[in-house]
């Protein structure tokens, strides 16, 4: 907490106030890296991200190229497998590995962006609610209750039924359905911070409310949000694959892991790899995120209850 910010804002102060924050970030990173599980998670996630970004360069096979006569080729280690299709082909002869890599983009993109949207909405509403209190607070919290009680899957399905399936709509829907947890967390932090001295002092000298919010309150609530957000990415990815499974996700021919699961489910008795591999991909991605998130949480605030 730096009290210097209560003086009239100037460029020098702004820079000076930045330094401890950078140091804090570096410390956190070191804490995270010290834990082997978090480190493992981080490395895995990094690998996945790298693979999904760079795969067109590394692995040339087109995820959309059909080869009807080569349908259901098993992975290379099974009899009938070939090296040209390392993880086999699907029901239209498309290469499974490249579809998995391509699909990682969608899942990761939707996962992180939706959480970003949700956090944005949540932060704004939570800040307003906590800071201004009173009727605004009650109103926003009531809306939050309604969103919480609405069965999540039903809400998302209903909205997609109206808007139509597309990546953008998916992100919007998942983001907007999930804001409540962030809002509540922020609101809680805001409520407790409001009474702290430096905030009162700021108010006393007449600093504009918004600046107070941004300069003082926000930095202190970032850490629980970060942890929460990281852990929620996992949930969002599972929900996205669930929606894709039900046919309401990103439309074909773009491969997404959820839809690969749905399409593969039909052939479960004959082509086990079509169902197992996308599921494993989802699982390991989420595992890495969870490991990282756990590490972050432990490093930032070990007293946050473990869920």
């Amino acid at each position: 907490m730096n009290t210097r910010a209560t003086e009239s804002p100037g460029f020098r102060q702004a820079v000076e106030s930045l330094v401890p924050r950078i140091r804090l970030t570096l410390e956190t990173a070191r804490e995270v890296v010290r834990r082997p599980s978090a480190l493992a998670g981080g490395i895995l996630l990094l690998l996945i991200l790298m693979a999904s970004v760079s795969f067109p360069v590394l692995y040339h096979t087109d995820p959309l190229a059909q080869d009807l006569l080569a349908r259901f080729t098993p992975p290379v280690w099974q009899s009938g497998g070939t090296w040209s299709h390392l993880l086999g082909t699907d029901n239209l002869g498309r290469d499974v590995l490249s579809r998995l890599l391509y699909g990682s983009r969608v899942s990761l993109l939707v996962g992180f962006t939706a959480v970003f949207v949700a956090e944005l909405v949540g932060i704004v509403l939570g800040l307003i609610s906590g800071y201004y209190g009173g009727k605004t607070d009650s109103f926003i919290m009531r809306i939050a209750d309604i969103f919480m009680a609405y069965p999540f899957m039903l809400l998302t399905i209903s909205v997609i039924a109206v808007l139509g399936p597309s990546i953008l709509n998916l992100i919007l829907v998942l983001g907007i359905s999930d804001w409540v947890t962030y809002a509540r967390t922020i609101r809680g932090s805001v409520l407790s911070l409001k009474r702290k001295e430096f905030v009162e002092a700021s108010r006393a000298i007449g600093t504009h409310n918004i600046i107070i919010i941004i300069r003082h309150i926000l930095p202190n609530v970032i850490s629980p949000l970060l942890v929460l957000g990281t852990l929620r990415v996992a949930n969002i990815i599972i929900w996205e694959s669930g929606l894709s499974y039900l046919g309401m996700g990103a439309p074909p021919p773009m491969p997404t892991w959820g839809r690969m699961l749905a399409e593969g489910r039909v052939y479960i008795g004959d082509a086990w790899w079509l169902v197992t591999l996308p599921g494993l991909a989802i699982m390991f991605t989420i595992l890495s995120i969870n490991l990282l998130g756990d590490g972050l949480r432990d490093a930032l605030d070990p007293r946050l209850i473990n869920v």
Partner: protein, 498 residues
Amino acid sequence: MKKTYLLILAALMLICLFASPGVARDADTLIVVQESEPVGLDLMRSSLQNTMSVCYNIHDTLFFPQQDASIKPALAEKWEKLDDMTWKITLRKGITFHNGEPLNAKAVKFSLDRVFDPEIKCNHKGKLAAFKEIKVLDELSFEIKTARPFAPGLYMLGIYLPIVPPDYIKKVGNTKYNTNPVGCGPYKLAKWVRGESVILERYENYYGPKPYYRKVVFKTVPEATSRVAALLTGEVDVVSGIAVHQRKNILESGKAYLTSQMGVMPYLGINTYEPPFDDVRVRQAVNYAINRELINKALFNGKAILCNGPISPRTFGHAPDLKPYPFDPAKAKALIKEAGYPNGIEVRLAYPTYMSQIQEQAEAIAANLAEAGIKAKLEPFERAVMWQRYKGKKHQLFVYWWDDAPEPDRYMYSLFNSKSRDYYYKNETIDVLLDLGRTIIDRTERAKVYNEIDRILYKDSPWAYLYVIPEVFGVSNKVFYEGDRDGFLNMRWAKPKN
């Protein structure tokens, strides 16, 4: 405390391990599995395949429709043509409904009137629209009149007019009738546990040949793999909705066999009103671009029958001189260029997501089209939206399907006559021919008319003609069941195999 805990845990696990699926069942019970459960049990209120399947065990009609679109007597004992628009039909004596109510001509009249009752919103109204009225002559006979000569009339009656008990319906009302139906078929409803099963019991006073199985249970299993697994473990006897790739599993298992009669005919509809498909050359290009042979081989194990026109090759009236469009992407490209699109075209291909394997076909077709310079953007829609857009004339290319029925009028009229639907195509010559086709009574003459229709539509290409996929049922080795062209699971014909 820990010890008691562990004991409870162990006990729970033991219970779970030994709880086995109920395998013991009576030898005279037949278990049938479908992909979805019936919506109601009133045949007049649904046109869904799985619902109608169950209903046909409970309800009987005047005639038994045959595989070649002719009829045999059922409730009706004899009939004679008085003139081109009037038939006199006499019912068998002594038929009763499941509740004992007698079946008579008045009941038939009540049933036909009920079809047109606005409260019922009967889905089959259109098929029986030609019938004007019934005049009751005496207890067991009546005259039925059509407004115009209608060749498939009696056949349509045999499929779409179940005879229902007037007194019972008047007493319980239409809503209750939907869940507690009373018919005159070989089975009566014993119990319906919605979401689980429909239990039917043999009606001992049935007038016709008594079915072998005393009890028939219709269950619902939406997962295709689960259905097949249940068949192979002996849990169930008859299974519908077997996907192509599962067929060899069944055949190799030695525990069950496949029976197939009914077909499904998917087609690629084309919006002929708007460019680029307002030009017949572009439409024909679509037909040339699709590699039906390869799709058949890869997706259907070669079991599909290629279509050479809108009329199914298994139905009378299809023109035998027509051959399926050959796979010729070069010609397709040339035609498109000739029509004024030297750089190819970009179109949208819509398809519904609620039927399995449609997506696969759509994707394969899109890939074919791409090679011919037609870049098709895939648009999956759920059932409601697809239908809404269909009626709103919003599709450009779309995949839909029809049953491969033995009576050509049944679907040709509905699909191509502009009085019925003109959302994507309108052709006055075809309209006239279709009207003609249903009024000529003589079959050979009718066939000629339909041949002509087939040829015209082949050239005009309002559709890309694909193939007929025989739908199969899996049947346990202990049961003998053949199935019929309509694909309804009429269990009255099932019996044990020995």
